[in-house]
Structures are given as C-alpha cells and as structure tokens.
C-alpha cells in the first residue's frame, strides 16, 4: 500500500516538474534559429567520443579550429559514437542536413555508402567523406598521407629496439592500415635490417581493453617497442607498464604514457577543413579525384600529418636522421614506396627506380618484407 502511495506521489511530482517552465522552450528555440540564421552551418559525424585522445579528438579539434578561424561558420553540430552500420549513419547524416547544415564531414570509412546515399537526395549540400574511395559531384573524398609519418616513426622505433622485435597493434586489415604498417616497417628496416614488425589484428578501431590485451601479448613475445593503429592510448599504457617503449598514433599519446611513447604520428585536419569550407563558400571547390580515388590526399608538406614532439628518450642523432628523411619526402624527391621493395616472400614487388602510384598505394593488400603476420 505504502509503495503505491509513493509511486503516485512520484508521478505527481514528475508531472509538476515537467510542467514548470514549458513555455520557455519555444522562445529559446527561435532565439537559436536567429543567431544561426546568417552563418554557414557545418556538421560533423564521429565514430568515437570527442575526448578519445585519438582519431575523433583530432577531428573535433579541427572542428573547433574551423570555428575559430572562420567567423561566418557555425560548426556546433556534431554527433559522436555513430556506429558504422547503414541504418544509423544514414539517419544521422540526414538529420544534420535537416538541421540546416550545408557542409557535412563524415569522418570514418564506414560512412561512405550512407554519405553517398544522402548526398543524392540533397544536391545543394556538400559532403566530405574521410578515407573512402567514392566521390560524387557534391561528395569529396579526403585523407592524409599518414604513411609518410609512419615511415619516420619507423626510423625512431628501429633505432630504439634492442630485441629486434617490434609489436604493432592494428585495427583492421584494410589498405589504410596495411599501408601504414608497410611504411613503418620500411622505416624500421632502413636503420635496422635485423628488426621485424609483428602485427596483431584487433578487428576494432577503438576498444581499450582489447587493444591493451593485444599489446600485452606482443610484449610477452619479446617485443620491446609497441606501435599501433588504434584510437585509444591503451597499447602505449601496456608498454609503459611493462617498462618498454612505444610509438603512439592520432594525437600526442606521450601525454598519456610519457615513459613509453617516444613520439606519435598525428593528424592535423584544421587547415584542410578551413581551406575546404572557404573554397566551397567561394564556389571554387570541386570533388574531382586528384590522387587515385581521392579528392584530396595531403601529406607532411601540406601539414595535415606530422610527428608529435619527441620525448626525452629519443637521442639527438635519431632526430637528425628523421629530419633528413622528412626533407626528402617534403621536397618530393622520394616518397616511401620507391623501389626496390620486397614483399613478405622476398619477391621484388617494386623494382629499383620505380615507385607505387597513388592508386596502388590506396589499394595495398600485401605486406613488405620484415612484417610478421598476414594482411587478412
């Protein structure tokens, strides 16, 4: 009996709670619409949480940079943790359009189909999809040449390893990740031909527990440097706990595992986002592919990718070597996948004097010599 009375009271309380101030809501909405009215609305779709210290955070920092740089842009609409399945992603993108966003950045590979589908329905909205291969008149595909920085970080790792075994915690066997592992290994072997890179697939972009377990398994097998293509810093933490070293990814993971992480290949999307939004507003932007299937594929030279600050354990001579190699890449004289390159079986894949085309780089599904593991 008492319980029923309690429940009834709760219901009345709730009704009163919800009823108070219902009038305020309409006024607020119209006020919002007015302030947003004149601005160009730009929306973002994220795979992870904005504070993941990795992939999504890098995009979100760029979103804030975009707002700070271009006063006429309102980029306050973003949706995080959107799964890469067709049902949810397509709806989230459509809703961003319906909420008045004129430019929409979809920042994970799995949003490709949904982005293309929604773009067909809204020809006056411009979409930018990160890391895919499809374009349309109002859909651009963009990415960064992370492999260049992976190569540089490989030099650091190759110099640091004593056991000559480097562990690489990798998300999914798709060309982007395979390309990164290959570039990293080419860097390692350039300075240390004895060293091998052992790859473990987690089949997830972000899952701190699984990433950490994978790193621990690699450490148990004798790896003394842990590199990663994962969104969380937990592989670096595993390395730190084991008293070993690491190479982070996405953002400066040395902030999280300062004793382990020597440096991290990082993304810097901000300048590209600003340039692209400007170009779209001025009507000069085109989605035509310029590099393989991509509308935009910037590298170290464009500043979209780079190395995070070194931690003190990286010796001066290594820093100088990296600097020298970076100059070769920036000058365009050399770009990582220049022959001779052998595959895992030892067969020549790229002959001396040749180099892979952008299309071949984007399609990569084989490992270079020195990688232990299967690209599948």
């Amino acid at each position: 009996m008492k319980l029923k009375a309690l429940l009834a009271m709760a219901a009345v309380l709730l009704a009163a709670f919800l009823a108070t101030g219902c009038g305020g809501e309409k006024a607020k909405e119209t006020a919002n619409n007015q302030t947003n009215g004149e601005k160009l609305k730009v929306g973002f779709v994220y795979i992870g949480p904005v504070n993941d210290a990795g992939w999504t955070q890098a995009h979100d920092e760029a979103r804030q940079y975009l707002m700070a740089q271009l006063p006429y842009v309102d980029a306050s609409d973003y949706v995080e943790n959107v799964p890469e399945n067709p049902t949810d992603a397509e709806r989230v993108i459509t809703q961003l359009v319906e909420q008045g966003n004129k430019i929409i950045f979809t920042t994970s590979f799995g949003y490709m189909d949904p982005t293309i589908k929604v773009a067909k329905k809204y020809p006056d909205v411009t979409f930018l999809h990160c890391s895919g291969y499809q374009t349309a008149p109002n859909v651009g595909a963009y990415f960064g040449r992370m492999y260049q920085v992976r190569y540089l970080s490989g030099l650091v790792a190759g110099k640091a390893t004593k056991s000559n075994l480097i562990g690489y915690v990798a998300a999914m066997p798709i060309p982007e990740v395979i390309r990164g592992i290959n570039a990293f290994t080419l860097g390692v072997q350039k300075v240390n031909p004895e060293a091998k890179v052992k790859v473990v697939w987690t089949n997830t972009w972000v899952d701190p527990a699984i990433e950490k377990d994978a790193a621990k398994a690699l450490l148990d097998e004798g790896a003394d440097v842990i590199a990663q293509h994962q969104d969380s810093a937990s592989p670096q933490q595993a390395a730190e706990e084991a008293g070993k070293l690491g190479i982070g990814y996405n953002s400066d993971m040395g902030k999280i595992a300062p004793k382990a992480t020597m440096t991290s290949p990082v993304w810097n999307w901000g300048p590209y986002y600003v340039d692209t939004v400007k170009a779209i507003k001025e009507g000069t932007w085109k989605s035509t592919p310029t590099a393989g299937s991509l509308t935009y594929w910037g590298g170290i030279k464009e500043g979209i990718v780079g190395l995070a600050p070194y931690r003190p354990m990286v010796p001066e001579d290594v820093k100088q070597l990296v600097e020298k190699e970076q100059q070769r890449i920036v000058s365009g004289e050399w770009d990582v996948f220049n022959g001779p390159i052998k595959d895992q079986s030892g067969a020549i894949k790229v002959t001396a004097g040749q180099s892979l085309s952008d299309d071949e780089k984007l399609n990569m599904n084989w490992f270079v010599q020195g990688v232990i593991g299967s690209p599948k």
Binding site: L3, L7, A10, A11, L13, L14, F17, L18, G21, C22, G24, E25, K28, E29, G43, P49, V50, S76, D77, Y78, V79, E80, N81, V82, P83, E84, N85, P86, T87, D88, E90, R91, V92, T94, Q95, L96, E98, Q99, F109, G110, D113, K121, G132, Y133, M172, P173, I174, P175, N203, S293, L362, N363, M364, N365, K376
Partner: protein
C-alpha cells in the same frame, strides 16, 4: 518468500499478478526513469525539458523521424518475434544476432552469387535462403539440446561469434568487391535484390513481412494445436510428457523457426537497408530483441509496440546530441529507462509487505 536483511520487509511472489499492473507499472517506471534522468541532466546544467522534447519530436514528431523509427522497428520486431517463439517454450535462444548474420549471408549469396543469375526468382530465393540459413544455424544448437540436453544458452551465445566471424571472413576475403579498393564490403546488390521502399523514405517491404509475421505468429501460438503444445511444454515439461507431447520434436521445430525468423531480419537488413553485405550489419538486434520479447511478455502485438518504442529511443538518442548532449549521457538515459522498466517487473510479479512481528526468523 525473502526477508530483506536488516528490515522487516518481505518480498513475496504474487499468486496472480494484477492485470492493471501490466500497464500501470511500466508507465510509472518510464516516468520515474525520466525523472531521475531530468535530475542528472539538471545537475550537469542542461535544459532537460528541451532535451526530452527534442528526443521525443526527433523520434515521433516529424514524418522523417517517424519513418526512421519505423525503419528501426522492422528488424527489432522480426527478431523479437523469432526470439519470443523460442522463449515461449522456455528455449533460451540467445543466438539471434548470429542467426541474423547467417540470414544476411545466405541472402547475399542468392543476390550476388546465385548460379543462374538474377531475375524474378531473386527476391523469393533471398527470403527463403535467408530463413533457411538462420533456421539451420539455430538447429545446430537445438539438436544437442534435444538429444543430450546441452544448455542452449551457452551454445546459441557462442554460435553468434562463429556467424559474425564467418561473415567477416567472407567480406574481408572471397566476397570482397573487386572494385572496392580492398575494403571489407561485397559488391552492391543488383536492383532485383533490393526490397522496394515506401515513397522517398527508407521504410522497406520488410515492414509488411514483419506485420504479416506478427499476425501469423499470433494465430499459430493462440489457435493451433502446435502453439498449444509449445505453451504447455514451456510451462511444464513433465505435464507435456504426460499429455503425450513429443518435446524433442518440438525443440527442433521451435528452434528452427525461431532461427529462421531471425534469419529473415538479416535478409531484410541487407536487401532493404545496406544493399550489400558488410561487417557491423546488425547493431545487436539479436540482443535487444531479448529485452523486447521479455517486456512484451512474448505477445506478438505487444512486441510490435515495444519495438516501436525501442526504435524511437534509439533514433531520438542521436538527435539530442546536436543540442549539446554527449552521447554517453544519452546512453545513460537509455540505461535508466531499461533499468526502471525491468526493475518495475519486480513489482508486477512480487509484492513487498511488512513482516508480521512473529515471523522474524523466516527465510
């Protein structure tokens, strides 16, 4: 009867739950969940009224939102119907997720790799093969259950992972689209393999299949001898045996159809939404369906309603993010709703009363 330690309160199972409680308790539970949610939103300095209003209107208040809620309702309804069929016989099919993937796999085979190509037969073949694959996948766990009494909770659960990895193997390997830059996707389906949609919305023919299945399920369960057998076996195996019901046969049949219906979800998702096979096809529909079937008390019509509400909850959840709510807060709200509604179940079936002073040592 359980005495709460340190109090003089008793929890007792009700002999016959009050019919009104079936409706009143969930409603009060939802209101309480919203109340607690409102307090935590208010504590973090957010306008809970606007958030609730946005969530509700996002899911039900516009044609687009409503259509998307229905899109979400389709897989939830079909899967829950399949799960509920097994639950009615107290067969705990936790393998809906895997059966969905197997259905999607077989339907994709019929769409892309059928020996005689595509034509008028493509769609019927996709439906039949999708259901057959889901059914056979479930049957694999039903056989050991029927013969040796192997616990189906464990086996159906484990089979989920096998099915998901099988689909991953195909899309990362032999079924990868040759034009797909080595990404884990099959080629897009030909037009014959794509379910028609309602106008410009994404509501596809699966809605019709789901509703048809709902009526069919009601008819079979309530008005056939087989339906009666399932119910009796579910309530008491010994009574069923006494009545001469072949429960082994029924375990096999019920699990097969339960899996087949879940397989249909896989088919409608690839054919009505994704237009290709890919990893992450189902966002845990097979698991959400367990909660839905339970909340709906296995009643087919209630399943449609509860699926619709769950669909709305998921659709509304993403909408409020653009009003500045982090997704973790949305997950918390969804969790609160589930917690209170499931907790409310306790009040439907159990009553709490003051222990008489003399029965202090009762257990």
């Amino acid at each position: 009867m359980i005495k709460l330690p340190g109090t003089n309160l008793l929890i007792e199972k009700k002999l016959s739950p009050d019919p009104a409680a079936f409706f009143v308790v969930p409603v009060i539970s939802i209101l309480l969940a919203l109340l607690v949610g409102a307090f935590s939103l208010a504590l973090s300095g957010r306008d809970y009224q606007q958030i609730y209003a946005t969530m509700f209107s996002g899911a039900f208040g516009s044609t687009y939102g409503l259509s998307e809620t229905i899109v979400k309702t389709i897989p939830l309804t079909i899967t829950s119907l399949g799960i509920a069929l097994a639950f009615r016989m107290q067969l705990w099919n936790i393998g809906g997720e895997g059966q969905i993937y197997m259905g999607a796999f077989a339907a994709t085979w019929a769409a892309l790799f059928f020996p005689v190509g595509t034509g008028w037969w493509t769609m019927p073949c996709m439906i039949l093969l999708g259901m057959l694959a889901g059914g056979l996948w479930a049957l694999l766990t039903a056989i050991p259950r029927a013969i040796w009494g192997v616990n189906e909770i464990i086996t159906t659960l484990m089979m989920n992972y096998v099915a998901i990895f099988w689909v991953n193997y195909l899309v990362y390997g032999p079924w990868k689209d040759p034009q797909g830059y080595n990404f884990p996707l099959t080629a897009t389906f030909p037009p014959e393999a794509i379910l028609p949609t309602l106008g410009v919305s994404r509501i596809h023919f699966g809605l019709f299949l789901g509703l048809l299945l709902t009526v069919l399920m009601y008819a079979v369960v309530q008005h056939t001898r087989w339906g009666y057998e399932i119910k009796v076996t579910g309530e008491s195996v010994s009574a069923a045996r006494y009545a001469g019901i072949n429960s082994k046969r029924n375990i096999l049949l019920v699990m097969f159809f339960s899996g087949a219906i879940c397989g249909l979800t896989g088919m409608t998702e690839v054919s009505g939404i994704a237009y290709r096979l890919q990893p992450g096809l189902s966002t845990g529909y097979g698991f959400t369906a367990i909660i839905i079937a339970w909340l709906a008390r296995l009643n087919p019509f209630a399943i449609v309603l509860v699926s619709f509400l769950f669909g709305g909850l998921q659709v509304g959840g993403y909408i409020v993010q653009t009003s500045g709510i982090p997704s973790s807060m949305v997950t918390m709200l969804q969790g609160l709703l589930l917690f209170f509604v499931l907790g409310g179940e306790l009040l439907t079936y159990y009553k709490i009363s003051k222990a008489p002073a003399s029965s202090g040592q009762d257990t």
